[in-house]
């Protein structure tokens, strides 16, 4: 069955999955991007897009990246062009890119449009949008066939993870972004991953997407698992236990404070092709007995 499906996809892709240039696409800011030919000098100023381009097998088309794009390893050789919020505009221009991928927030998109450089501004805001964005970027760079395969593989992996954790009870989870403590709401991208991985976020939707929580709220919610995205900034099970009133929290008593590495945080933060890895990572943490 699977083989038939794959060959069907192959067949359709051969017919339909070639972008027609000139190609007109409207990005998330409503700007119209016109490409006269498939881009061959791409600059990516946002890690999720960098990862998407490479996952589509087009890594060699990249000529520059933002300072946070650190995956896959081969992009580390590309020139660093600042960050999306404080870009080195001159260096981007000097590379003469025929496509720049940027975030929809910040001023970089407008600056590049003003300079007459082809720019696509947009990142996935929700879990399901990740698949759309992969397709869109693929369309821009004429890699739609690869996108069809990538999306199919990701969806298959997701279904498999979902099967593994089916029927498990959801542990309550507190995800700490920093020691303020800022956390993530269920409608944020990370919040979606938490719930898809079978976790029960202690933050409710009415608190917003990235709320700053009252520590008392966390103590009262008594989460069973705490994920520390700020472990790289010195937070740990010990520093949490030392916070006033926290030592009695279930996760701290039972030793379920997970200090995420920077690489794990990157995987969870980025709405790109590695969302499957993020989901698997969290599913493993939430349901260690159901996943090896």
């Amino acid at each position: 069955m699977k083989k038939i499906l794959v060959s069907l996809v192959l067949f359709i892709s051969a017919l339909a999955f070639a972008s027609d240039y000139p190609l007109t696409v409207v990005d998330d800011l409503g700007n119209e991007l016109v490409l006269n030919a498939a881009p061959v000098r791409i600059v990516s100023m946002i890690p999720s897009s960098t990862e998407t381009v490479c996952a589509l097998g087009a890594c060699e088309l990249l000529v520059g990246r933002d300072q946070y794009s650190n995956y896959p390893e081969e992009v580390l050789d590309l020139p660093e062009l600042g960050s999306g919020f404080s870009p080195n505009l001159e260096a981007i221009v000097a590379l003469e890119p025929d496509l720049v991928l940027v975030s929809e927030s910040g001023d970089l998109a407008k600056q590049l449009v003003d300079l007459g450089i082809p720019v696509y501004a947009g990142t996935a805001q929700t879990f399901s949008e990740v698949f759309d964005k992969i397709s869109t970027i693929a369309k821009l760079i004429n890699h739609e066939k690869e996108a069809a395969f990538l999306n199919l593989k990701m969806r298959t992996d997701l279904v498999n993870i979902h099967k593994l954790i089916a029927g498990a009870s959801a542990p309550s989870v507190f995800y700490e972004l920093d020691s303020s403590p800022y956390s993530v709401g269920p409608e944020s991208f990370i919040g979606e991953i938490i719930s898809l991985a079978g976790g029960d976020n202690i933050v409710t939707a009415d608190l917003g997407t990235f709320p700053k929580l009252d520590p008392e709220y966390i103590v009262a919610s008594n989460p069973e698992i705490i994920l520390l995205a700020d472990a790289a900034y010195g937070e740990s099970a010990e520093t949490l236990a030392a916070r006033a009133g926290w030592s009695a929290i279930s996760a701290i008593v039972s030793g379920k404070v997970i200090e995420l590495s920077q690489e794990q945080v990157d995987i969870i933060n980025r709405p790109g092709p590695r969302i499957v890895d993020a989901l698997f990572l969290l599913a493993q943490i939430f349901h260690p007995d159901m996943i090896d």
Binding site: F85, E90, A91, V93, A94, D107, G208
Partner: protein, 343 residues
Amino acid sequence: MSEFKPKPAANSLRFMAIIFLALALIVVLIIATGIGSVAIPPGQVVAAVWHGISNNLVAVNDIIIWKIRLPRALLAALVGSLLSISGLAYQGIFRNPLADPYLLGVASGASFGAAFAIAFLPSIPLVASLGLPIISFLFSLLAVFLVVIFAFSNNKIPIINLILAGVVVGSSFSAGTSFIMITAKDRAVNILAWLLGSFSLSSWAKLASVLPFYIIVLVLLMLSARALNLLQLGEEQAMQLGLPVSSFKAVIIVLATLATAAAVSVSGIIGFVGLMVPHAARLAFGPDHRVLIPVSALLGAIFLVLADLLARTIISPEEIPIGIITALVGGPFFLYLLKKAEL
């Protein structure tokens, strides 16, 4: 008035100095626009400017110069000029060497207004782009009004009162700005980006939005130069010589505040420029405002173009806020003046 009429020889010397400063500004602009992550020799800078003027941008360097670096350098020059003549006007009106848009709390008032505009104005293109400078201006007028009211004592404004009132009003407005940022969650990033200042988002359009204010302020101040000179003799004497002192002062305060608000609305808060530059001008050229206004305008422009050059190259490719550089130079200068003023 005759006390201030320079002798003919001195007059032409000063005229020469103004010409010299104008040339120096052009040289500084050419050098500054040549420096950056891509080094561009002066010859190519001039060529790129020519290509830009004749609307014929060919090379990548043309685009870097004409569309990125030149508008940025010119905006820095304009803001430096605005802050300097603003400081000069405040100092002339208050007859106080420490008056400065930053210390008077005017800049904080302007930035509160801008934060308010960013947070609460609907993002309809024209409303947002016109509303920000107007609201900025209104709040900076409110700030200077409050400072004058609180500093006024026995028909005078003692230096210490002016500085303290400026600090208090300034920090109140800064607190208000912080409050807006915390409550206007989704727009906090925009406010912060704007507050940090920097000329990294310069464009010809931005330049064009400030230029009219600049021309109005500069021309009106030049026309007021003689009256400003009169005022330095003391208010009573100026009144006896026929100057309507109160209304004149009000007009100059409005002009100086307009200059500050125009500067702040495109660049955020940049401190100490309006304090340092007029002093340097006065040290070199004496007290005549007819000379001081153009000299301050040019010196301020040169100073801020150089400060911005440092800000974007010192830890390139990262940029540091230009306010750090002006404060590093201006802080010690302020303390020196404070000491000299012998409060």
